[in-house]
Each structure stands twice: as structure tokens, then as C-alpha cells.
């Protein structure tokens, strides 16, 4: 945990309207009050979407995986695309909370709670997709190494097994990290709550009292977990990228994939943070806590990763040409001008061209503009995965076996449902746990026992 003096010195968000701890408690905990119609409407929508997802999945379980549009040669379609998309989204949460914490970037304080929650829910969403995707999901546990009488182990050479480890590890660490960081705030909420809700907070706050000793342990645990989570930011998406890079499919088999995917993940994750926090800020009146300064910082990160991603795209095309390998060349030519040209151009425009606007300070400081750009990036990043996965597969080595894939209604239902599933959890989170970190915000405020002037002049 950063100390107040450090952050002030580096120009932490001054929050001009927020002057006391009680202001923070009041503003943030107000979010946890009885929800309004808007929340219920959204929650209803999300629940309906979750229903749609499980209904679609149910059809698939009963009838068979064939209700999806995937076929030969495109055996991985919308499901894996969406899996990678959500794993990517999951990235920025840990990045914001762990890496930026270790690097003492003060602008993270207002957003990291939402970003961490986003991480956990995004991994929960992503984790469904391998199950949805496999032909016999009831046997999916065979991918997990567990002692058994047949002495059968998973194939540790398979990137899919690496995936199982990477994603479960990431989920475990990010969920723990998220929960740990929330404990002091749960305790704060506990003080304000009554009835059943109070009981719930009492239970999950693990008896937090805010003593020095507790803060000391908390700080240590937090920094350790942050250190533990940091390599995961790089590893998870690297491993996910190896699902493809280890394959021999033209368009997959490239050494650039790990950094390319990690950059893309941060890119899409930050965009998703903006997409989520802009409405959150508006609805819950958190303008004082999430200022343009925060958004400006996020926009800069997006700009950076956008350039990395664009560079990666261009490198891929360049390498395809430079290699002189006819099959690779055909594959990339097909990417640009083949049956799926629209997906590729959507990807290039949304991820490479649109973020150029972020070079302008005016754009970075305009919340609506950022929101719109973030939506473009979300779409673009979904299509990036679609292009890599589907478009590469549909034109491979043997031309006679080329084919075109069209997503089915079931796949679209599950895709839409996955957003609802994510929203469902996020909406519950907004009402149940403080979506902005109370304790950390308080660190940058003057302590209540001091006079205001002491800080102003201190």
C-alpha cells in the first residue's frame, strides 16, 4: 500500500470535492444501498442473457456439439474466439492492481477494484468456454492431472493442458488477490450495514478490525500477492497464445504470438475497464473519484498497447511476405481479401486506426469519446481473435479441404450470453462490494485527526 505522502508527491488524484474519510465512506457505500430501477432493469437483462446462454448450451448438450456452426476445417470457432477474448479482458485487472501497484502508479486507486472484479468475472466467463467447446464436456476433467487407477495422465506436451494450468492458476490468484484487497472495505461496509446484509459482511470480512497489526499483515500479504500475480499477467496470455503458436496452422505458427497476445490482452482489458467504469461513474456519481486524469492515464496505456498490437499485425503480414513461403502468403492474402475480409478490416480499423485519435489530449480528456473508442476496441479485439482463429483455419495446407465457417444461432446465443453472464456478476458485485477501494482512497486524504491546513501546507 502506498503511503499518502508518496502519492501526493507524485501528484495523486487530489479529489478536490472529497476532503474527509467520511466523505469517502458516504459516497462509496451509498452505491451499496437499495438498488434503483435502472439496476434492476440491467440485472433483469443480464439474467435473461444468462438464461439464453444456458438454454443454448442446454440445446447443445442434449443434441450434440453439432448445433454449433463449427465444422471442418474450422473446428475452433466463436467459442474459442470468445474464450480468448475474455481471457484477454481478464488481464488488465491484475495489471492495474498488481503491476501498477508495484510500480506505484497512483492513478490506479480509483479503478483497480472494478478492474479486479472484472478480471475475476472475465476468467469465470472464459472458463466456461472450453467446457462449452469440447465434444464431451462431461469428460473434460480428464485434462486435469489427478491420480487414478488407470495411471492415465494428461499429455503435458499439449498446450491445452498448459491452458488448464494457466487459467486455473490465474483464476485462483486473481480471485484471492481481489478478495484480500476487499477485506478492509467489506469491514467498512459492515459498519454501515444492518440486518442480514450486516451478517453477510461480518462473515466475509473475516473479523477485520483495522488494527495496526492487521494493517501490517494485510500490507505484506497484498504486496506478496501482487508480486505473485505480476508474472501471471504475462504468463496466462502467453500460454493462451501458445494454443495457436504451437499449432502448425499457417497464421498461427509464429514466434511473435506471446508478446502480441499479452499486449492485445492489456489493450482490450483497459478498453473494457473504460467501457465498464464510464457508466459506473455516471450512475453512482463517482465523478469525484474517477477523474479525467485517470482516464487520461488509461488512454495512454491503450495508445501504447494499440501501437504494439498494430506493429504485431504488420509484422505478421510482413513476415508472411518476407518468408517467401507460398502457403503462409496465401493465408495472409486470404486474411485481407478472402471470404473474411470484413473481419480483418474491422480488426485493423478498430485496433489500429481508431486508437490513433488518442494521440490528442482533447480526445483523451473526453469521457464520451473514450467510451466510444473503448467500444470500438472491444469489438476490434473480438474480431482479432476471430481472424486469428477462424480465418487461419479456413485456408490451410490442402486447398481441397478449404471451407467456410458460419456461426450458428446457438453460438451467437452463447456469445451474447457470455456478456450477460459477465454483466450478471458485475452487477451483483457493484451492489455487494464497494466498487471503488475505500481504504486506498482514504490514504490520499488528510487523516481525520489533523487539521485541513496541515495537509494543504504539508
Amino acid at each position: 500500500m502506498a503511503t499518502a505522502t508518496e502519492t501526493s508527491a507524485r501528484g495523486a488524484a487530489p479529489h478536490p470535492d472529497v476532503t474527509s474519510y467520511s466523505d469517502v465512506n458516504r459516497d462509496i457505500l451509498a452505491i451499496l444501498q437499495r438498488p434503483g430501477k435502472g439496476w434492476w432493469a440491467l440485472f433483469g437483462l443480464a439474467t435473461a442473457g444468462v438464461g439464453l446462454m444456458f438454454f443454448s448450451w442446454g440445446i447443445q448438450l442434449v443434441k450434440g456439439i453439432g448445433v454449433a456452426g463449427i465444422s471442418k476445417p474450422v473446428g475452433w470457432g466463436v467459442y474459442i474466439t470468445t474464450f480468448v477474448f475474455w481471457v484477454g479482458i481478464a488481464h488488465s485487472g491484475t495489471l492495474v492492481s498488481a503491476i501498477l501497484f508495484l510500480f506505484r502508479a497512483p492513478w490506479r486507486q480509483s479503478i483497480y477494484r472494478a478492474a479486479e472484479a472484472m478480471t475475476v468475472f472475465a476468467v469465470m466467463t472464459a472458463g466456461l468456454f472450453p467446457l462449452i467447446h469440447v465434444g464431451r464436456p462431461w469428460l473434460a476433467y480428464w485434462l486435469v492431472p489427478y491420480p487414478n487407477a488407470r495411471f492415465l495422465w494428461p499429455n503435458f506436451r499439449s498446450p491445452l493442458v498448459w491452458d488448464v494450468f494457466a487459467v486455473t492458476t490465474y483464476f485462483t490468484v486473481s480471485a484471492t488477490f481481489f478478495y484480500l484487497g476487499t477485506i478492509p472495505d467489506i469491514a467498512a461496509a459492515r459498519e454501515a450495514a444492518t440486518g442480514l446484509r450486516k451478517k453477510f459482511y461480518q462473515f466475509i470480512s473475516l473479523g477485520w478490525r483495522g488494527t495496526d497489526r492487521e494493517w501490517h499483515h494485510f500490507g505484506k500479504a497484498y504486496i506478496f500477492l501482487a508480486a505473485l500475480a505480476t508474472p501471471l499477467v504475462l504468463s496466462v496470455h502467453s500460454v493462451v497464445s501458445w494454443d495457436f503458436a504451437m499449432g502448425i496452422t499457417p497464421g498461427w505458427h509464429a514466434t511473435i504470438f506471446a508478446p502480441y497476445f499479452v499486449a492485445g490482452a492489456i489493450f482490450s482489458g483497459m478498453a473494457m475497464v473504460i467501457t465498464l467504469t464510464v457508466p459506473l461513474r455516471k450512475v453512482f456519481g463517482l465523478q469525484a473519484y474517477l477523474t479525467t486524469k485517470h482516464y487520461d492515464a488509461m488512454a495512454k496505456l491503450i495508445l501504447l498497447t494499440s501501437m504494439i498490437v498494430l506493429y504485431a499485425y504488420l509484422t505478421e503480414f510482413f513476415m508472411a511476405w518476407y518468408s517467401g513461403e507460398e502457403i503462409e502468403r496465401t493465408s495472409f492474402w486470404d486474411r485481407l481479401f478472402g471470404s473474411y475480409w470484413w473481419a480483418t478490416w474491422t480488426m485493423l480499423v478498430c485496433n489500429g486506426i481508431v486508437p490513433i485519435m488518442l494521440w490528442f489530449k482533447r480526445v483523451r480528456h473526453s469521457i464520451p469519446a473514450l467510451f466510444v473508442i473503448s467500444i470500438f476496441i472491444n469489438i476490434g479485439m473480438w474480431f482479432e481473435r476471430f481472424v486469428i482463429i477462424v480465418v487461419s483455419q479456413h485456408h490451410e495446407f490442402v486447398p481441397f479441404a478449404w471451407g467456410v465457417y458460419r456461426p450458428s444461432m446457438v453460438e451467437m446465443g452463447i456469445l451474447i450470453g457470455s456478456f450477460a453472464w459477465f454483466g450478471f456478476w458485475f452487477l451483483i458485485f457493484c451492489r455487494l462490494l464497494p466498487p471503488v477501494a475505500i481504504a486506498e482512497l482514504k490514504e490520499v486524504l488528510p487523516a481525520p485527526m489533523r487539521r485541513k491546513e496541515a495537509v494543504d501546507h504539508g
Binding site: G64, S71, R157, T330, V398, P399, F400
Partner: protein, 1026 residues
Amino acid sequence: MSNGIKRRDFLKVVGVSGAGAGISGCATEEAEKLLPYVIPPDDITPGVATWYTTVCGECAAGCGVWARTREGRAVKLEGNPAHPTSKGALCQRGHASLQGLYNPDRYPGPMLREGGEFRSATWDEAEALLAERIQGAVGNVLLINGHTGPTLSGLFDSFVTGVGGSRVEHEALSEAPLREAARIAFGEDVLPHYALAEARLIVSFGADFLETWLSPVEYGKDFARATAVDGAGSKGRFVAVTPRLSLTGLNADEWLPIQPGAEAAVALAMAGHIVASGRGDAGPYAELLQDFTPDVAAELSGISAEAIEEVAEQFVSEGPSVAVGPGVAGQHRNATAANLATLILNSVAGNVGRTVHVQGGWTGQRARPYAEMQDAIQRMASGEVGVVMVHGANPAYTLPVASGFGDAFGRVPFKVSFASAPDETAALADLILPDLHYLESWGDSNPRSGIHAIQQPVMRPVTMFDGKQTGDVMLSLSKRLGRDLGSATFHEHLRAAWGELRSSEAGSPGPDGADDAWWRDVLRSGVLPDAGAATGTRDDDSSSPPLRSPDSALTFGLPEIDGDGLDFTLLVYPSSRLYDGRFANRPWLVELPDPVTKLAWHGWVEMHPEAADRLGLRNGDVVTVTSPHGSLEAPVYLYKGIRPEAVAISMGGGHTNMGRFADGQGVNPMVLLPAAVEQPSGAFVQVATGVTVEATGAWKRMATIEGSDDQLGRPIAPAVELAALSAVAGSAHAEDGSETEVHHDELQELNLGGGFVPVPTEGRPEDFPLPGSRYGGYEDALSGPRWAMAIDLDKCTGCSACVTACQAENNVPWVGEEMIAMGRTMGWIRLERYYETIDAKQAGPLDVRLLPMMCQHCGNAPCEPVCPVFAAYHTPEGINAQVYNRCVGTRYCANNCPYKVRVFNWYTYTDVPAPMNWQYNPDVTVREGGVMEKCTMCVQRVREAQNRAALEDSRPLADGEIVTACQQTCPAEAIVFGNIRDPESQVAQLVESERTYRVLDELINTQPGVSYLKKVTFHAVEGESH
């Protein structure tokens, strides 16, 4: 167990048998009487297959068949090597007989029409009724039948004579013009037999001898022998002179794309050129040849005179040559003249007696003129016929609406069908007396003079269907009518007939059919013992009868086409899958991608891309095809192998009353055709009308397995020019060993470090697993066999018999049109077809690459490391195996397979309608939904042979003892399987060929266990020096 069987081996066999019995046990749920073998039958050992010889009854070719039965059920058909025509091979239609046998739509028993609806009847009731009706209509009985064996045919004759009736034979694919032409030319009423194997130059004027013409399996075999390159670097050539390339045409080395109907002109011009150069004598036709100079022929055919002269030149210089055709697909109003022209050409070039045999030719059943049928229709229409019986024919479907068959048939007071399964004619009948399937009944065949084969039941009739073979019905009907034909059963009758046959063949009245030992021998070999010798006489027959002058007026010019001036000439051709439509209710065949268009299930109209451009049509646009006689709607398939002036539609689709798989699928071109009769042969005219084509605005996602027909220069199906082969060039290409040095030291070093061991790109199939490589963990992997396959693409004709054979052997499901359109074909073999050069506008070399693509059983398989659960793994014997039970269905293996040969069970496809499940091979599991599968190199056959050898004193396996299903059926003998570690094995020797390559191996280092031998072309192959 005292004769040296080891306990372990015994358990292996018992284990296999037990599994098999268990599976077949599951499959019998629907059977009503399920009794255990308390006292097992002598000839059934559970788990061990019993084989019976019989004769395929599906078409008039009558190929010899071995039926593999397990626990009393036929599960697989294979060619009978002892049969003199098919010589061990079988076509896709033959394999699919099993789906006729186990067809769920078969009639459950006699059906009687009452008040417009069919109701079940007993045999006694039905026969009594029929006897009564015949008695009331003596003299007015008509029997229409398709091809039958000679004995049943004889029985039909005696029956019909007995009741004073008449009999008409009707086969939709009739070679009547050829028969007439042979009669005119040589005075012999036969269909000539063509010795393709002996020819060095084959010129086909449209005869689809690889698909449906006369005896496609035999000719497929002969063709492959003639045109495959031999050790001396010699290779026969094939020139196709046709307006449309059928599969046979796609195998040509050169294509002369003529106008429809110009066959006679080109053949005569060729003959004229030969005669003019003084190398042949046209006898009475010399004057005729004067009229057809190459220039005249060029004018009529649309190809250059030089091209005609060139091929004529080759026809004499590259002899022995043979000209065949035009076949059913080319039957126009001057078809007899066209056939006569090819016979003249053969005669002029001295081929008669060498490659064209008038003696020992085909028996006439396949050449019945349509005119006879037309006469019968008239008699039915005029009310002369009291009772009509139909056996083995479906004229209500195979004749055009314009023939009036339906109406005329409807006017007959009592109509009887012997169809065992529904068809359009049976649907019109009053009484149905379902015949047994040929695999359940007795019969015989006599395809060519001197060849007699026996058809014996290979199993008891399927219990769900209460059929009775028509021979027995004839006998019992005769009895009811008070005429005893001498035998109680058709079996007895057949045996008596064969006794006589034996006496006559032996030339003395000595032995007869009562000789049990002789009869058993007949049943065991399937053919009349002397049949082989009988065909031998053909070779001695080098007599070359002189040409006779025509006894009727013939026109050799372009035939008359209805609707003169319409945009396109309609070509109607027999389907290599559905034949004349009789196989449309067999999902294996309906789903088998057409060897030419690669489309399955639905119908299509073939059109040249240029013509389509003119009309603004894309592939898949649904069009209305209208002739002066009718119209139909079908999607357009753009095909470069057809003249721009023609469109083509395959026969066989558009059924209305054939069963669940056939009805509503495809189109029947007969609605477009007039009921025209060719003179003088009386044949039905197929190329009869012009059509217009109009877009409907609709588009159809066609059910194709084809992604692209251009291999983009990738080393998938490369070819090599004949002149570049070392045997031809005369200089042995010394293998340059320096480049292919394996860096074993480096490998060793890496291995000692415990690191990843790269697979050297110079490996050969027999090297795997490499010592120290990641497949090196098996103790016996380096000492045991390494199963491998070699496929000679110079032989492969793309006929697709292997696809169906594999489907039958390995319980590969069919999935339906929608699934195929999505790309979800389940076939373990994909017959790829690439075009290198194809030009429908001028004569020239044709380069079509055909390649059966199945699992390549890579030594360094990309699918294996990516499977998270080891479902894809490598056996110590080099087979890339798939453990179905372990498969979770991530499909990573399929993604990582560069050959895209892994197929996924998107649904559980195994719930087939009973009794089709009876066909399942008990040695192979069926797969549930969500599981990946692929070619296993018929591992069950490998194990079966290994177990057998182990039980026989642990003797070593001989090369060739294990035969995969695809290899077994291949008419071209293009596929060879064996242990590549054994240097003596055929496969090991084949891969030594300079033509050997492995698909994409140089690119991705997969080290396949399947080697291909390049196709050999006569023209230079661009950019493919490797």
C-alpha cells in the same frame, strides 16, 4: 488348446471375439427371436467371420463377390478374386448392396392394394390372388423385367410361355446401338468385349467405362493396367473425345472437346485419315469415309482438323489401340451410326480381334432396345394387357413422362411388382410380392459368353422382411396354375440348370449337378470351374471378321436435337453413384461425393463457367432448365470439363416413391426428355433436346467436399512427365546422397542434454520411431513392423470405390445433406480432385490430379502432441491411432492436421434405422457424438491377421496377408499396404520408386507413413521438377 496356442494368444482372440459378440448382441435388439447358441451351428464361430461367394446383382456387369458374414449377418462385401471379370475388385455400388439388403424401407411382406391403400397380405393369399388374375387373363400377361441371371430368365420364359404372355426386358442403361452396330458391321448379335488392358492407346468417344459402361470394375482394372507406367517406362495413353468429361474423361491424357453428336464424324475422319495413308482398309465404307474428311469433321465437331489427324496418326502408330463409345451418355438420334463409326475405326486400325473381340462378347441383356418397351406401353395403353408384372425394373421412373408409361401402366387391370423395396413403379401396383435381396437368394449370372457365376444366399433373409424370391414365386404360381415346372424350389431348379450347364461345358453328358462335391466347389469358388479357361478362349480368338455393308440407312452427321436454336444441348448421363436411379435410397451412395463434381445428395446442372458468365450465374445459383418437354429446377455447378454449348444433368435423382433417403433429393432429367427412339437400334435417346436455362434468383449452399480445385503449386498431387522418368530418359538419376546426410551426431548431442530432439527432415517411414525421439519409448518399436501404404496416383482413377469400402468396413456414418454442406463429411478417405489444365474450347492435354487423401499416419504427427489426453497416439507399429474412449473432443488434433483428414462426430450418428445397424462391422466400434475419428489403416484387419498367424504356430505374417478395405476394393490396384521395414515387401519396394513422394512432407516434416507415387503425364509438367 494342445496344439501350441499360447494362453496369451488364446485370450487375445477370445477377447476380440467376445467384444465382437457383445457388439452384435447390442445390435440385435430389434430382432424378435433372440436365442443364445445353446448348440452352436457348425459353420458359425462367434467372433470369426464366415465368407460366402456370390455374384453382385446390382447391375448387369455381375461382378463376383465375397460376402463377409459375422454371426449370420452379412457385414461387408469384397470382390471375388476368382471371378474372371472383376478379379477381386468391387465398385462403390456393389459395396452399397448391403444398404439394399438392410434397407429400412423394404416391404415387410406381400402388399395388396385395397381401396387405394396398401395392406399386408400373406404369401398364400397374394399368390392365390395372382394365380386367379392370371387365369382370368391368359394370353394377356406381360412381364417387364430388368437384368436377371440366365436361370431366372429361363424360368421367366417358361412361365410366360406357359400363360401365353409376353416378356419385355428393360434396362435404363442400354447399349442397344452398340449391339445394332456390331450386328451391322460384323453380323454378330453381341456386344463386343474390349481388351483395354492390352491397348496402348484408348480413344473413348464417351463410353464411361470407369463408371457404368458394360463392366466398369473390369474395365477400371484393365484401364489402370494399360495406362499406368510400367517398369520399362512405358505407359498407355487415353484420349477422350466427348462434349463432357465424365470421371472416365477426367482420366484422359488428352481431351478433344467435340460438339454433342459429332462422335461419328470424328471417328470416320480418323478412319479416313488412316485409310488415306494406306494403313487400313475400310471395305464397304471407303466411300463413306470420303465424305468425312478431317475438315468436315472439324467443322461438325468444333475442334481442329490437325487435332483429329494427330490422334488418328497416333491411333495407328501407337497400337494396339482401341476406340470405344459413345456409351449411354452419348446416345443421340444417330447413336447406331456413331457406334458403327467407332467399329469402323477399330476395324480400319486392325484392332478387331486384337483389342475388340466380337466373339466372347457381352450377353445381350444390357442392350435391350427401348422400342420393345414402347410397344409394351402401347399394348398396355390399348387395354390389351390383363396382368402386368414388373421385376427388377422401375420404368415409371427411368422413362420420361413423355413415354406415357405411367398412364398406360395405370390402365392395366392388375399390376404386380416384385420390388423388394419401394420404387415409383411399385407405388402404382396393385400387388407387391417382395423379392429377396440378391444376398438372400439363389441365382446365377452370365455376363459374357463362357463366364458363369453362382449367386448363393449369404445369410438367412432379414427377419423383418417377409420376402420370397421371385424364382420360387414363379414355381409356386405355375403349380397353382396347374403347370409343374419340375422343381419344388428355385434352388433345385438352379442346381438342375447348372448340372446341364456342366454337361454342356464339358461337352459330354457325363457328370451332372447332382454331384455334391462339384456343387460345393462351385459354391466355394463362385464361378463355374472352367470359367477361367472359357475366357481364355478369347485370347485365341484373333479372328477379324471383315466389315459388312450397312443394311439400313444411317446418318453419320450431327443428330437432330429437339428445340433447335435453344441455348444449350442437354446431356443426360448415368450417375456413377446412383446408376439409373436405382441406388438413390442408399445413403452411402447418395452421400458419396460425385467423383467429378464432388457434390452429394442434391442434384445439379453442369455448365461451363463462360456460359454461366454470359448468363450472370454463380456456382450454386438455382436455375430453371426448360426443354420443349418439361422443366426442372436445380443449382448450377460450374464445370470446365463441358463444352460451353452444353449443360449436363446426372440421372438418378428426383425420386418420389423410393424411400426415406431418396425422396425429394435431386432432380430427374427424364422430365426434360422426349420419348424418342433411335433408329435402327430402337434405343432410348438421351441426347435428344435443347434447353434454356434461366436464373430463379435463389442460391443454394451446395453439399460439396471441395474447397478449391487448384492446388496452387503446392506439393500435394505433383506429376512427372513420362520423358523425365529415368527408365525413359535412359540415365538412372543417381540419388545425390550428399544432401540427405542425417546429422546423427547433433541429434545425439541434443538427446544427451535431455532436450527436444528435432526430427530430421530426411527420415523415411521405416526409420520411425527415431532412437531418442519422443516416440522412442516403445521397447519393440524398432524391431516390429512399421505399417505403411503406397498409393500409385498413376493408377488411381478416382472412382471412389475405396471411400465406400472404407465406410462399410469401419462403420463410418453418413450424415446428410445439411452436414455435408457445412463441411462435416465423415468419410475417412477424401478423393481430392485438382485441375491443372482443362480447356473446353480446344483439343489438348488434360491434367487432372486425383488423390485419395486419408490419414497419412505421420511418423512425426502434428496431431499427437497437441491432444491433451493422449487420445491421439502412436502405436509401436507406426499406426497413428485414435482412442475413441479417451477422446474429449477438443478438436485440436484436427486443427493441427495439415491434411485435414480427421473427422469429428458432431452428433451421435450411429442411431440408424433398423435393420441398417445389422451391417455394422462387429470388429470396429461405433463412435458417439463428440469424438474424433479417422483412418486406422484397418487396424482390426491387422490384428485379425496377427492373431490368426499367432494361432497358427506363431508363424510370421506374409507380405500381402493384411489387406486394407480400400486396397482390397481398388479396381486399379493403386493401393498397397504392408510392413515397410521388410525390404521384400511390396510396399517397401514401391516406395523406392523415383516417383515416390509424401504429401507436404518437405514443408512440414510430418514423415507420413503413406507414400504416393506421382502421376505420369505425357506433357511437360510446369514448375514441378521435384
